[in-house]
């Protein structure tokens, strides 16, 4: 078949992708392609109907108590608001920078937090230089022409708000209402992508229930933003299940 000759085309990965048999750079490459290729997206949807049937073919009756445990856990678990979902789930082609007004409001909100935290930092120790630099880089991301705002609920409670600029390869994150951790544990941020998981800093101690703004740089295509609970010193690789996974490309 003529189609076969073009084996190197990302398009041919649709089957493997639908089977979750694509990882790393292959996966990132196909996802980029998917953003541009409408017929691929349609094909993928159809192939996933077939894989759903493969799943149905191995259905098993659940052991006693499993469904009850799920229902109990769900009753305690906050849901993602639809508005956040619209922003976060929009396809790359359809995603646009936020209206200027919304961004300005977000920037103002961030700036207020930055000022408050800046004051705390100042009074705390001699971190003037670091704080000033941080506020500068944060302001840069917030004012970037391609800045996009995403909010999401965090598993076990709280919300995270991210403003990101692909131009600046950076993002700014604040969180609100994250559960308090024992002294031995801290929240750690990650950039998780085809090139592996990279630590992106620890969240500072909350102030009035809010943390951040935290600045992370070095965004690469296909990256997700992850948040995990780790030993207070931080780790080089995530050791627990992420309580937040934000698709930065979607």
């Amino acid at each position: 078949m003529r189609l076969r000759r073009y084996g190197a085309e990302p398009h041919t990965l649709a089957g493997a992708y639908a089977l979750d048999a694509v990882t790393g750079a292959d996966r990132a490459q196909f996802q980029r392609h998917l953003g541009r290729c409408r017929s691929c997206a349609r094909e993928l949807r159809e192939l996933r109907e077939a894989t759903a049937r493969l799943a149905g073919a191995v259905a098993v009756p659940p052991p006693e108590g499993l469904t009850e445990r799920i229902l109990t856990a769900a009753a305690r678990t906050p849901q993602l608001p639809p508005a956040a979902a619209r922003i976060a789930a929009a396809s790359p082609a359809r995603r646009r920078a936020l209206p200027r007004l919304a961004l300005t409001a977000a920037a103002a909100c961030f700036a207020a937090v930055a000022v408050a935290l800046g004051a705390v930092t100042l009074s705390a120790r001699d971190q003037l230089g670091a704080a000033a630099l941080r506020e500068h880089t944060i302001a840069q991301v917030l004012s970037a022409p391609d800045a996009v705002l995403v909010t999401a609920r965090v598993t076990h409670g709280g919300t995270a708000t991210v403003v990101m600029s692909r131009r600046d390869h950076g993002l700014v994150l604040t969180t609100e209402g994250l559960p308090q951790l024992p002294p031995s544990r801290d929240y750690q941020l990650w950039l998780m992508g085809p090139s592996g998981d990279r630590p992106a800093g620890m969240l500072p101690a909350p102030h009035d229930g809010m943390t951040g703004p935290v600045f992370a740089t070095g965004l690469r295509p296909g990256d997700w933003l992850g948040l995990t609970v780790e030993p207070a010193a931080g780790t080089s690789r995530p050791t627990s299940h992420p309580i937040l996974m934000l698709n930065l490309a979607a």
Binding site: D26, E49, A50, T51, A52, A55, G56, A85, A89, H241
Partner: protein
């Protein structure tokens, strides 16, 4: 035909509407925080989710854990489900398979599992099941049987074994490009064979 009629009959029943209602509609209610709707989603989806996760993860207690994570993700992200972009069951099983594969790959990195184990991961006959599930299973098995051997092995090793296409190529000792196209061709044939038999 008979199945479609059965499906219609089920859906038109009012008493058991919540338990047999359309999964797409139920997810809409779940997105609004409706816990009864979520219970109905669970009764429909948990057997399938648990089945696919168990096929991939193998260990029953880990499979239960992952299954719970999957359903919680469904609960949390119900507002993101877009009915126009595929069926609710495909959305749920995509989450389930992805999570199962993530779990098994993080544990498999050091210890390569045997090909034989993956091929036999699916034991079709070890569970009691509903008539509907058995009929569905028969259709899928028949359609899998209509694939070429390489298509079938590529698809089942990836889906039930959790292997990447590169790993499948190494296991089957065929070029990666060949496996890639066989996976796609195999799924397209499977889709065509199963199509209209919903």
């Amino acid at each position: 035909m008979g199945l479609r009629e059965a499906g219609r009959r089920e859906r038109s029943g009012t008493a058991a509407a919540a338990a047999t209602g359309d999964l797409d509609d139920l997810l809409g209610a779940v997105a609004r925080g409706d816990q009864d709707a979520f219970e109905a989603v669970c009764s429909r989806a948990v057997p399938t989710v648990l089945g696919v996760v168990r096929a991939v993860v193998r260990d029953p207690s880990q499979a239960e854990e992952v299954c719970q994570e999957v359903l919680l993700e469904v609960w949390r992200k119900a507002s993101r489900f877009q009915p126009g972009r595929g069926s609710a069951m495909a959305w749920v099983t995509t989450i389930a398979h992805r999570r199962g594969v993530d779990r098994v790959r993080s544990e498999r990195r050091s210890a390569e599992r045997e090909l034989r184990a993956a091929v036999h991961a699916v034991d079709y006959d070890d569970v009691a099941e509903t008539v509907e599930a058995r009929l569905d299973r028969e259709r899928v098995r028949r359609c899998l049987g209509a694939l070429t051997e390489l298509q079938r092995e590529s698809v089942t090793l990836a889906y039930y074994g959790g292997y990447t296409f590169r790993e499948v190529a190494a296991l089957l000792q065929v070029p990666e490009g060949t496996v890639k196209t066989r996976m796609r061709d195999g799924l397209i044939r499977l889709r065509d064979c199963l199509g209209g038999q919903k």
